[in-house]
């Protein structure tokens, strides 16, 4: 630095250290322009918009605690004799993986707490993603331009399931080993390729000596790496698309009403991270999870009752548990339908929710962007479908825990299984119909409220003796909120002949689309919202309806 410059800056007074560091960084990273475009990014306020944050923070907590666990975990299946501090396992033969997990739990400082935080955070992460996904689904936030982000989120959920699965398999305890065996069985049920995939995955016959080491690299490197990438992409897209918002006065498809990222949201989000961490840490500090010492080391000749996977795999467990044990034998080959059909259904049910946005956009034919969220009642068919899907999922969870439901409610496990079998088919149908009716009922109520105002419960006697209930008209804001949603017209197949009178060939897909569209938006499938004329007529001073 030259002398003249020094004296000059002294004359003006030295810039504060923070500013100088920022200047230095800006010269190299261009942070000012980045900050300028993003610092004032607006985020709307609603508790349900923070569900995604719950997921992100629990993911970060999982990564942090996971790094600590890798310092002490030995991903090896070499057999060792246990000589740690847990008495009921003294002298037992076990894999090094199990041995090191016991070591983490009993002999590493803070090891058990970190293990429990890691595991609880994983359960909460997956539960958070599920609820976040449902929030996005039921409010229609997946519509253009957010379909790809919906898929990113869906992939995160599925990858999260498999990351969790590979993670709980690592300690090589009797419970997780049973789960791995279960998975091997599902893989083997695949026709033709099953046994090859199984041998490839386990490096030979199950259990072999490889799977812990392989699952370890998948669990700590491959899957979380992909997930981190997807999560960053997910967030970039949220920034790029801007956040959705609920309808309300002043909120349009072209603006976002809320608080700026800096300083308001940064403070809120930062604080929220510590709240999430605090809640998870409090649970982990007081509540045991996956007590592998009680389960013992895995041995393929042992098994325990009540062997369930973590909740996010419970749905798959349930599908296999309540499927009848069908199989086909031909030419010396066995096709285990009792396992293979559930395996296919597992993929089908997950795919159904993943592709839904594309189906809906095809049915509506709507190519415009949507930044205003739907209230679930205003999209009865979508809401009905979503509840039906959740019902299938929950029926699977009940099926996965059928034995515990039987013992704890003093039921017969056979009855529980039959209930679940019937409800796998009947449940979603009932849920769809009931949900749709409730939505339509709520739409009618909204219409009633807009036209006639709120029932105040105040009874008034008129001079000629009549009693009436006073209805309080809604405020302009409320009226806007209740009537802001767009209502589609059902798509028509179009005329049977074209403009020249030549018979037009109507494609099957076109007919299907018209049918579906009618099911979505046809008569009786949505309640027409009150028109301005209706409103004026009623409020134009004819007194009371």
């Amino acid at each position: 630095m030259s002398t003249s410059e020094t004296s000059e800056s002294r004359a003006r007074g030295k810039a504060p250290a923070g500013e100088r560091v920022a200047d230095w960084a800006d010269g190299r990273l261009g942070i000012y322009s980045l900050a300028k475009s993003n610092m004032r990014k607006i985020f709307p306020d609603h508790w349900s918009f923070m569900l995604g944050e719950v997921c992100m923070y629990s993911f970060i907590i999982i990564i942090l605690t996971g790094v600590y666990l890798t310092l002490f975990f030995h991903p090896s299946m070499n057999e060792v004799e246990y000589h740690g501090s847990y008495v009921p396992l003294q002298g037992q033969l076990m894999s090094e993986a199990f041995n090191s997990t016991l070591h983490i739990s009993f002999d590493v400082r803070g090891g058990l707490l970190i293990r429990q935080i890691h595991h609880w955070a994983a359960l909460i992460f997956l539960a958070g993603m599920f609820v976040h996904m449902m929030r996005v689904f039921f409010t229609g936030a997946f519509r253009k331009p957010r379909e790809i982000n919906w898929l990113f989120g869906f992939l995160l959920f599925v990858l999260g399931m498999f990351t969790g699965f590979t993670g709980y398999s690592l300690p090589d305890d009797l419970l997780s080993g049973t789960g791995v065996r279960f998975t091997e069985g599902a893989i083997l049920s695949m026709p033709i390729v099953g046994s090859y995939i199984s041998f490839f995955l386990f490096g030979g016959e199950f259990p072999g000596h490889d799977f812990v080491a392989r699952f370890y690299s998948i669990h700590i490197l491959l899957l979380p790496g992909i997930m981190l990438g997807l999560m960053v992409g997910h967030l970039i897209l949220v920034f790029y698309h801007k956040h959705t918002q609920f309808a309300g006065p002043g909120k349009t498809n072209n603006n976002v009403v809320g608080m700026p990222l800096l300083p308001v949201y940064m403070a809120k989000a930062g604080g929220f991270f510590f709240l999430v961490f605090g809640v998870i840490a409090a649970i982990a500090a007081t509540t045991q999870i996956n007590p592998i010492w009680a389960m013992g080391p895995y041995r393929p000749d042992q098994v325990s009752t009540g062997a369930q996977p973590d909740w996010y795999m419970g749905f798959a467990e349930g599908l296999i548990r309540y499927m009848p044990g069908w199989e086909i034998n031909f030419w010396g080959h066995t096709l285990v339908l009792g396992v293979f059909i559930p395996l296919v259904l597992f993929g089908v049910v997950l795919a159904a929710i993943a592709v839904y946005p594309f189906i809906e956009s095809w049915v509506t034919g709507d190519k415009s962007e949507h930044h205003i969220l739907d209230r679930p009642r205003n999209a009865p068919t979508r809401t009905g479908f979503g509840v039906a899907w959740v019902t299938v999922y929950m029926v699977g969870l009940i099926g996965g825990g059928n034995d515990l439901i039987a013992t704890h409610f003093h039921l017969s496990i056979n009855d529980v299984t039959w209930f679940v079998r019937i409800f796998f088919f009947a449940g979603p149908v009932i849920a769809f119909i009931v949900t749709k009716r409730i939505c339509l009922g709520l739409q009618r109520r909204d219409k009633e409220k807009v036209l006639h105002g709120r029932e105040t419960g105040i009874i008034k006697r008129l001079p000629h003796g009549e009693f009436i209930e006073v209805h309080e008209p809604l405020s302009q804001e409320q009226l806007h909120t209740l009537t802001a949603h767009h209502q589609y017209e059902p798509a028509q197949v179009g005329p049977a002949v074209d403009e020249n009178g030549v018979e037009r060939k109507i494609k099957g897909s076109e007919k299907l689309r018209a049918k579906l569209s009618n099911a979505y938006y046809g008569e009786d499938n949505q309640i027409p919202k009150p028109t301005v004329e209706e409103y004026k007529e009623i409020t134009s001073g004819h007194g009371h309806h």
Partner: protein, 270 residues
């Protein structure tokens, strides 16, 4: 008499009759029932059997037959041995209230140990069977807990769960939770295989094996069990953990989110 019959429709008549009946039965019972302790001390073997037979006629014969030969309501007891009696009656499973229902459940034991011994002696006299184990056989001295754990996971866990928390069997039957079951009863259950449980005679699980298993159950599923890591949520594994994560984990976080979202820097309204 006329006075009495005149009041037979009195609202309290039924209550009075019931009370009289109860007092009558109770009095008769107190008069007839053997005073267990005093007799047990002094009786010889044959006298014990005789007393046992009396108890048997009152409490058991209606289902198991007057000579233990069994009936449509209960199996033959010839050859089940004293251990089976001590287990079934000692845990209150027998006498069963009814032979209906998926399985006979544990309930309050209504006999004294002396009476159970008499019953056991009588049943043992019908045909040879497993003896009631001694405290040396089921006591914790010299037991190998870790070996017991291995044996438990190999032989018991598939119905009773990893730590003996119990599990479901078909059609409403179940393997009960082993917490709080007396070591003697666990030993006898293994030996005699009550209800749906297979029996593990000494040829399958040696005396030492049984001792080890009992010591293991005491270590992992009893009031003395150390529970590292906090609440064990029933020791039922991922189902209860998942439920807990949803309700208390995610539930708390959503409550926190609602709280945070409600506290925002609102634009000032003019």
């Amino acid at each position: 008499m006329k006075k009495l019959s005149a009041r037979r429709r009195h609202p309290l008549a039924a209550v009075v009759v019931l009370l009289l009946a109860l007092v009558g039965t109770g009095g008769a019972y107190a008069f007839l029932a053997p005073a267990g302790k005093a007799q047990a001390d002094e009786t010889s073997q044959s006298l014990t059997i005789e007393e046992g037979q009396k108890l048997y006629s009152v409490g058991c014969a209606s289902c198991h037959g007057t000579k233990g030969q069994g009936s449509s309501d209960g199996p033959s007891l010839v050859g089940v041995g004293a251990a089976a009696v001590d287990f079934q009656v000692g845990t209150g499973r027998m006498p069963a209230a009814t032979s209906q229902g998926p399985q006979v459940v544990k309930k309050k034991n209504i006999y004294t140990q002396a009476q159970i011994d008499q019953l056991a002696a009588y049943i043992a006299s019908l045909g040879a069977g497993p003896e009631v184990p001694t405290s040396e056989q089921y006591g914790a001295d010299g037991a190998d807990i870790a070996k017991g754990g291995e044996l438990f996971r190999t032989n018991c866990a598939q119905c009773h769960n990893f730590v003996g928390a119990g599990g479901a069997l078909t059609k409403g039957k179940f393997a009960p939770n082993l917490e709080g079951v007396a070591p003697k009863h666990i030993y006898e259950a293994m030996q005699t295989g009550p209800q749906n449980m297979p029996s593990f005679p000494d040829t399958t699980l040696t005396e030492k094996n049984k001792k080890d298993i009992i010591a293991y159950i005491d270590a992992v599923n009893s009031p003395n069990t150390e529970n590292p890591g906090g609440l064990d949520l029933g020791g039922l594994g991922p189902v209860s953990e998942g439920l807990f994560a949803w309700i208390f984990g995610l539930g708390a976080l959503i409550a926190v989110a609602v709280w945070v979202a409600a506290r925002t820097a609102k634009a000032k309204k003019s």
